[in-house]
């Protein structure tokens, strides 16, 4: 049961092999047993979960008055703690929101609840989604289930670890510079960041508004397609959400890949990628050629600029987005202060961790008078150049492929002393966010094979704008031909 696909779980519920309450209990018990070692969840609440499960059972029993019951009804999932959930606390991995209970649900939470999905709890994450290792969480680091001495990736590290350890069948994540794809790669999962604007950002605590996008994380492309179909859609409360006809993202899953043109950017296969990652990715490409695809070389000449541009734009937006955490209306407020200025400085100094402070300082600096033109405006220009690179590349191919991350999961502390090394973990994922393109990661082998614990490698697929269904098709066909996505760590067996 814990390794079943969402489709199988759905069938089991439909066939009354077990109830949603029983299904939820299986995962709640696993969370109770394994979470203390993994620290993937920040908040669980068995009672609240079971109330939702009972409601799902009831919905499946009585039907929903003519409209079809969603196949997701009764299936449990967990939310990254960046999504506001009414009645559950929403911490965003930060001390400043450690006791914040939202009075409203995020759009994504609302939509998945409307489909009848049952919330298992709130998942750990890098503080305010700033990080690639989950070491910046106020609630402590998440451990990688494949090797608890290694990071799970970030910022959606709790989501990735929880699915890998089979503490939940699926989870929501958010991706600002790779925060869905990189942890999916490091934990051997499938995760998808949609085109900017496909999923509403309403109720998702903002990190960098022009880059943030929510997406599904699960064990397979097929599961991601089901979840994305339920998560996506226009929302009048988000001005950057796109008004488009609703899609079934699984519609093309079974299309054969004959004739598929895979673009391989030279810039994604240069120096900086570990040999084990390169080998796994090359093997995956060989598999794709077997499936009828052809590979073409493409150029993304400005991709080297993506990390510096990102580390101007994302901190700039974050420095402003995080201003609302001031201790005035909610969240942490310092116990003692002499005046207003001190109330702000102490509350924020105590409430934010080091990485968040670093990015607020960078962002404040690059937006300052006299520096704005040199940094922010330049970075925005680079952003347009990067998008133009992709437009040119997609004239020659249908999808782009490469590694998700330059290395497999690294040990705790390996990069935390050097922020730049940490930032480079996202070197292959960031340009996608800058261009607003969809991207996904799927398991394609293992690295670090000399050691006791082989660690998963992720293959990245970048699609054209609104190319989610195509990407999922490309991923699903690979997953039909290979079994990397069904591999699991010891804890899940």
């Amino acid at each position: 049961m814990i390794n079943a696909s969402l489709k199988q779980l759905s069938s089991a519920l439909a066939a009354k092999k077990l109830s949603a309450v029983e299904m939820a209990a299986i995962f709640l018990d696993r969370i109770e047993k394994f979470n203390p070692a993994l620290n993937a969840f920040i908040t669980t609440d068995r009672e609240k979960t079971l109330i939702q499960a009972r409601a799902a059972d009831e919905a499946r029993r009585v039907g929903s008055g003519g409209t079809a019951i969603s196949p997701l009804c009764g299936i449990p999932l967990a939310h990254k703690d960046i999504f506001c959930t009414r009645g559950w606390r929403t911490t965003c991995g930060s001390k400043i929101l450690a006791n914040f209970v939202s009075p409203y649900d995020a759009n994504v939470v609302e939509k998945l609840a409307a489909a009848g999905m049952v919330t298992l709890g709130k998942l750990n994450m890098d503080e305010f989604a700033m990080g690639s290792s989950n070491e910046s969480s106020y609630f402590g680091p998440v451990k990688n289930p494949w090797d608890v001495s290694c990071v799970p990736g970030g910022s959606s590290g709790g989501s990735a670890a929880a699915i890998a350890a089979r503490l939940t069948p699926a989870a929501t994540g958010t991706d600002t510079g790779g925060s869905i794809r990189q942890p999916a790669a490091l934990c051997g999962l499938t995760g998808l960041k949609p085109t900017y604007g496909v999923v509403s950002r309403y109720g998702m605590v903002a990190f960098a508004s022009s880059l943030d996008q929510a997406g599904p994380m699960a064990k397979s492309a097929e599961d991601c397609a089901l979840l994305l179909s339920a998560m996506a859609g226009f929302d009048t409360r988000d001005s950057t959400s796109l008004e488009r006809t609703p899609e079934d993202y699984g519609r093309d899953l079974d299309k054969p890949l004959a004739g598929l043109r895979i673009g391989l950017p030279k810039e994604f296969f240069g120096e900086g990628m570990d040999a084990d990652v390169r080998a796994a990715v090359e093997t995956a490409l060989t598999e794709y050629r077997k499936l009828g695809a052809t590979t073409v070389d493409v150029r993304l000449p400005n991709s080297a600029l993506s990390v510096p541009a990102y580390y101007v734009i994302a901190p700039a937006e974050a420095s402003s987005n995080l201003s609302r955490f001031d201790g005035v209306r909610y969240g942490h407020r310092a116990a003692e202060y002499a005046d207003l200025a001190e109330m702000y400085s102490r509350s924020r100094a105590q409430g934010f961790g080091a990485e968040v402070k670093r990015r607020i300082l960078i962002g404040t600096y690059v937006l300052s008078h006299g520096y704005y033109d040199a940094y922010y405006l330049q970075a925005q220009k680079i952003r347009r150049l990067i998008a133009a690179d992709f437009v040119a590349a997609f004239k020659e191919c249908d999808v782009i492929m490469g590694p998700t991350s330059p290395s497999v999961a690294f040990a705790f502390g390996a990069k935390s002393a050097d922020p730049v090394q940490m930032y480079l973990s996202d070197i292959y994922t960031i340009s996608t966010n800058l261009a607003g393109l969809p991207g996904m990661s799927l398991p394609c082998g293992f690295g670090n094979t000399q050691l006791a614990n082989p660690m998963p490698v992720g293959l990245q697929i970048i699609g054209n704008w609104f190319g989610e269904a195509k990407m999922l098709n490309v991923a699903h066909q690979y997953q039909k031909a290979t079994d990397w996505h069904t591999q699991m760590p010891e804890v899940a067996k």
């Binding site: 999504f83 506001c84 929403t90 965003c92 929101l97 914040f100 939202s102 009075p103 409203y104 995020a106 950002r201 309403y202 109720g203 998702m204 605590v205 903002a206 960098a208 508004s209 022009s210 009048t236 409360r237 988000d238 001005s239 950057t240 700039a316 937006e317 420095s319 402003s320 995080l322 201003s323 609302r324 955490f325 001031d326 005035v328 209306r329 909610y330 207003l340 702000y344 404040t364 937006l367 300052s368 008078h369 704005y372 922010y376």
Partner: protein
Amino acid sequence: MSWEIVIGLETHAQLRTKSKIFSGSSIAFGAEPNVQANAVDIALPGVLPVLNREAVVCAIKFGLAVGAKIAPRSIFARKNYFYPDLPKGYQISQFETPVVSGGGLTIRVGSGDTATEKFVRLTRAHLEEDAGKSLHEDFHGRTGIDLNRAGTPLLEIVTEPDMRSSAEAVAYAKALHALVQWIGICDGNMQEGSFRCDANVSVRRPGEALGTRREIKNLNSFRFMQQAIDFEVQWQINEIEEGRAIRQATVLFDPDSGETRSMRSKEDAHDYRYFPDPDLLPLEITADWIDQVKSGLPELPQAMKARFESDYGLSSYDAAALTTTRATAEFFEDTTAATGKGNGKLCANWVTGELAAHLNKTDMPIEASPVSAAQLAGVIRRIADNTISNKIARDVFEALWSGEGKDVDAVIEAKGWKQITDTGAIEALVDEVLAANQKSVEEYRAGKEKAFNALVGQAMKATKGKANPQQVTDLLKKKLGA
């Protein structure tokens, strides 16, 4: 050597939308604190702004009314600063690309025939949200925060430094105040803060470059504006004449002392770190949208003033007085429509004279006038057809004003004020007057013009003012062989 005063004004006009500029909360004034603040207004984590289309319509109306350029694409920017009544830690405003730029207002400075017209150029007008209110008084050493006002739509209207006296500044502010109400985008209520002005003031020797300015914040009455600018100008002149340089600063006007006080100098000015708000798309306004708004716009005061002058033969002064507010203009036009175009001048005299005097005395807006346009038209019709004299008309008006009567003719009838136009009756009367005032007759015949007026006066007195003065005059002249 004389000094030249240079003034530019920045005005925040609260827009008359139903809801806030970026959320669905009501903006009605006077509610209990924080009941009109939803998740977006209090800036909970994860909330996002959605632009209120009505606020944009208001901006377009204003742009059209002042002959400005309406940007086909403008950008909302974040102005970042910390303050407890600013929930997001930034204000959403417009910075580099405002929705409205250019245009201007014609103002009248001075009164009566000596008044002069001047064109004040506008730099820009942009949309932004208001902050909440900090309540420092009611909480014994603590500060209360009311976020009802947070997110209220504002249009910030900025002039070029075109005004050269406090009188010009006040004339501009009044003209703007009238205009925003005229086109229905602002209720103009200065007590409630719907219309607030900041004045940038500097002085210089004529012909020299602009002096250093100081900004007087939050002037919420025309009288304070005049006092504050006058004080500030004198202060700046004294400083310079005593050899001290003016330093750029923000100052507050204290109505009790009549003085301006420095709030903060340029050195502690914020760096607002403006940047385009990534939560909002660029505001795009199509030509079609502008046309649609234009078709719903009322006739503008300047156009109406010109029409009053040409259609009714009014003086520029009268036409200006009648177009100070839309309600006044409508009252005048309703009155004129009911009396005929030929009585335009008479109607103008009554609206700007008797009616205005009564309204002023009781501090009443014309909308609340106890004498309706239809009633005033009734009075004017009876003057025009010689039923009553101007003097009696004032008594009729008074009776209508006090509520003593409603129907003009009924009042005239009941009071027996109908003008005597029967030639026979007047002739008999004139004969009596001549007989009783032989002395005046002789004086008149001896060449004293004044004596004639005395005779007319006697005749009018004898009829309690009801005789037609023209008929009396004519008859007297005939009888005296003049």
